[in-house]
């Protein structure tokens, strides 16, 4: 395989992850240059190869972001010979990543102790809803449940409404934190020569998103749900503009911003209640109504531009079409066009950051076909000849 000029070039990952959070983790590491070998099977293919009806996707995905860059091999892990091949793969990998419920990898003979026997310095990532230990460790869960358990869902919501469920951003946030922890474990291995088992509980990532509220709760306070408000900034929120469903977000930090806001909008708050930052905070509801009136008839995009030019934090509430059309994100490589013979040109999320000396970070290959890289992985890396592979297929070890 070609070695990209990327920071993690030379790192190899045996990727057993499923669903969204774990695959996003290994996708990030692959964007950073790691070679990621995705292990699945015809009987247990990745979720993107199937319809996802509860999410409203009634057929398989044509392109799957979190599978991009990855190599695909088939192994029927319930077969002992397949598990043995998986261990051989781990023996030539730096990282083994999985996101099954705790206990599954042990049943497959692929738990940390088993993998350490074949690769003593292996870095293993186990990503799960509630972690590898603790009374809830067996709990099943998805992104909205992580948010519910962790406290983020409760703290998010209108003041007079129910809690709000987190969606894929919660999965992927867990995946990003997992990628970070995996990298830290690799550094530890480089320094000490020892392996590590990283245990990421996605619900604890949700808790990390309300870390300040948890500090408050620990001393007996009851943190307040703020909706679109902010305890220090006023006005602050999301406001209607002249175009239907085209909202302007606004965060006024202090007196200079407040003066600039009035200047740009050609308005003056002739009200003693709003003369000081303290007054504006104290009367934030009345202030919000005033500012909402100022903004209701304005063009959202032009107003955001004008406010930014005056140093005020403002941005339009963007749809994904706005994101796709944005030249700034394209210029940064944060969005990138991808295409393949069976995939018309479309946009994907690209490099997570820009690196000055290792610039080949990003998407290098698209979604792999099931088992498309077995010549390289089973043939070149594991040294299986074609007769051996045919025999393994016949006996449904490779399936």
């Amino acid at each position: 395989m070609n070695t990209p000029r990327a920071p993690l070039a030379g790192i190899r990952i045996a990727d057993f992850t499923i669903h969204a959070a774990g695959p996003f983790c290994t996708h990030l590491l692959s964007q950073l240059g790691a070679e990621c070998i995705k292990i699945e099977s015809r009987t247990r293919p990745d979720a993107f190869r199937k319809p996802h009806a509860v999410y409203g996707r009634m057929q398989a995905a044509t392109f799957d972001q979190v599978s991009a860059n990855k190599l695909s091999v088939r192994l029927n892990l319930k077969h002992p010979e397949a598990a043995a091949l998986a261990r051989r793969l781990v023996a030539i990998s730096d990282v083994a990543a999985e996101s099954f419920r705790p206990g599954v990898m042990k049943r497959l003979g692929l738990d940390f102790d088993a993998l350490r026997e074949v690769r003593p310095d292996v870095v293993m990532l186990s990503l799960s809803s509630s972690g590898q230990s603790g009374p809830d460790s067996h709990f099943a869960g998805y992104a909205p449940l992580f948010g519910a358990w962790g406290g983020l869902g409760w703290m998010t919501g209108y003041r007079d409404g129910p809690p709000v469920e987190m969606r894929h951003v919660m999965d992927h946030s867990a995946g990003m934190h997992a990628a970070l922890a995996t990298l830290a474990a690799l550094h530890q291995r480089r320094r000490t020569g020892r392996g590590q088992h990283v245990d990421l509980a996605a619900r604890e990532v949700a808790s990390a998103m309300v870390g300040d509220a948890l500090v408050q709760a620990s001393i007996g306070q009851q943190p307040e749900r703020l909706g679109n408000g902010d305890a220090a900034m006023a006005p602050h929120g999301v406001y209607a503009t002249a175009q239907p469903d085209r909202w302007l977000t606004l965060a006024v930090r202090g007196e200079p911003d407040w003066q600039a806001l009035q200047r740009v909008l050609g308005q003056s708050a002739d009200d003693a209640r709003f003369a000081t930052p303290e007054g504006r905070r104290q009367h934030r509801d009345a202030l919000d109504a005033l500012v909402a009136g100022w903004l209701r008839g304005r063009d959202a995009d032009a107003t955001a531009q004008a406010l930014q030019a005056a140093g005020v934090c403002a941005h339009v509430s963007w749809t994904m079409q706005d994101v796709a059309d944005d030249p700034h994100l394209r210029a940064r490589g944060a969005t990138t066009q991808v295409s393949a013979p069976d995939i018309p040109p479309r946009l994907a999320v690209g490099a997570p950051a820009r690196f000055s000396r290792t610039p080949e970070v990003g998407i290098r290959r698209l979604t792999p076909a099931l088992g498309q890289d077995e010549d390289y992985v089973f043939g070149e890396l594991l040294g299986l000849d074609s007769a051996q592979r045919a025999d393994l297929e016949r006996r449904e070890v490779i399936l």
Binding site: L28, Y55, S173, Q196, S207, A213, M320
Partner: protein, 388 residues
Amino acid sequence: MPSKDVTPSIDQPLAGCRVVERSRSVAAAYAGRLLAAMGARVVMLEPEGGSALRHAPPWLEGSGESALFAYLAVGKRSRVCNPATPQGRELLLAELAQADILIDDTPLRERAGQGLAPEELSGRFPQLVHVSVLPFGASGPKAHWDAEEVNLLHAGGEGYLLPNGLSNEMFPDRPPLKIHGHFCGYQGGASAAMSALAAWWAVPAQGGQYVDVSVQDAALAVGAFALQRLGDGSLEHRASRRFRYGGVFQTQDGYLELLTLEDRQWQGLVELLGRPAWAQDAALADPLERSRRGDELNQHIRAWMAQHRTDDIVRRAQELGVPAAKYRTPEEVVHGEHEAARGLFGQARLPGGGEAQVLVAPFQFRCTLLGRGGAVPALDELTRETDA
């Protein structure tokens, strides 16, 4: 990699790693915090008067100290440094000479005047990983734009899509709703820390380098699925982005989340509900049919949920393999049995003399446990310690 002039004394993942942090944003401070939690020595270089984050909400009753700052700064060290002055510049360079990683969120227009331009630093410190963390990044047409959390959540596309589910059903005409706190700032921080460690990994082969991280990029990255859906021809909207059935349910005494994606989970749900007649419809064995009739299913499920207590539902659901979770308050999380068993929190000493529990880190290392708790540094405490 081994760090300069430092012998790792504790077997933490990042023992020996030295980080200099200049932060006024949650993103940069969280990046440093994550590295500190894993054993790096993180020195905050603060302006005279201290970082603005020391005064950021929410505040602790009694002392008025910032709970946010306590969370973000525990385990770090503090030194006052104004690199716009000759003495400050000298101090900055002395710190960087010992550092592996610099995390900096100084606005672009101020960098040259403070000796923080990337080309200047890479010339002086060729092994340094210099991570810039800005709302819209350090390059591109909007690099000079400024933003707070509410702006970034909407610049990344997720803000427009919230709330969905029950909250949107109840309040369809209200403005989109922000995720609590600093969700995007935390994504930017995690991305910066991850990118820092990736670049540090490459130092032996490539030397140091400049890494440009954008909070907007990070927010978009975690929301990648919506861009994928756009490529599939579907422009998502908060009113339509909802689970066909499942979601947030009000119970007799609170709220819970329920989501069944697999057939066996649906079967478990039917069992949980007591095998009602409506669920015996053979057509509902087809997951696509269930999705088509999601509203009808949810009405039945809601009626049942309202008659039962959250803890009873969740306990039975999990026994049956049905993914269900209580919407827990911060108080319930901080006193949670599961969290206690996993050692999620540690005791932190606050600058004012008080103590509080602080989340250690959102990951564990099972071979070498992370240190828990520590001190939230008083302003410039490192200088005073050195002088003494």
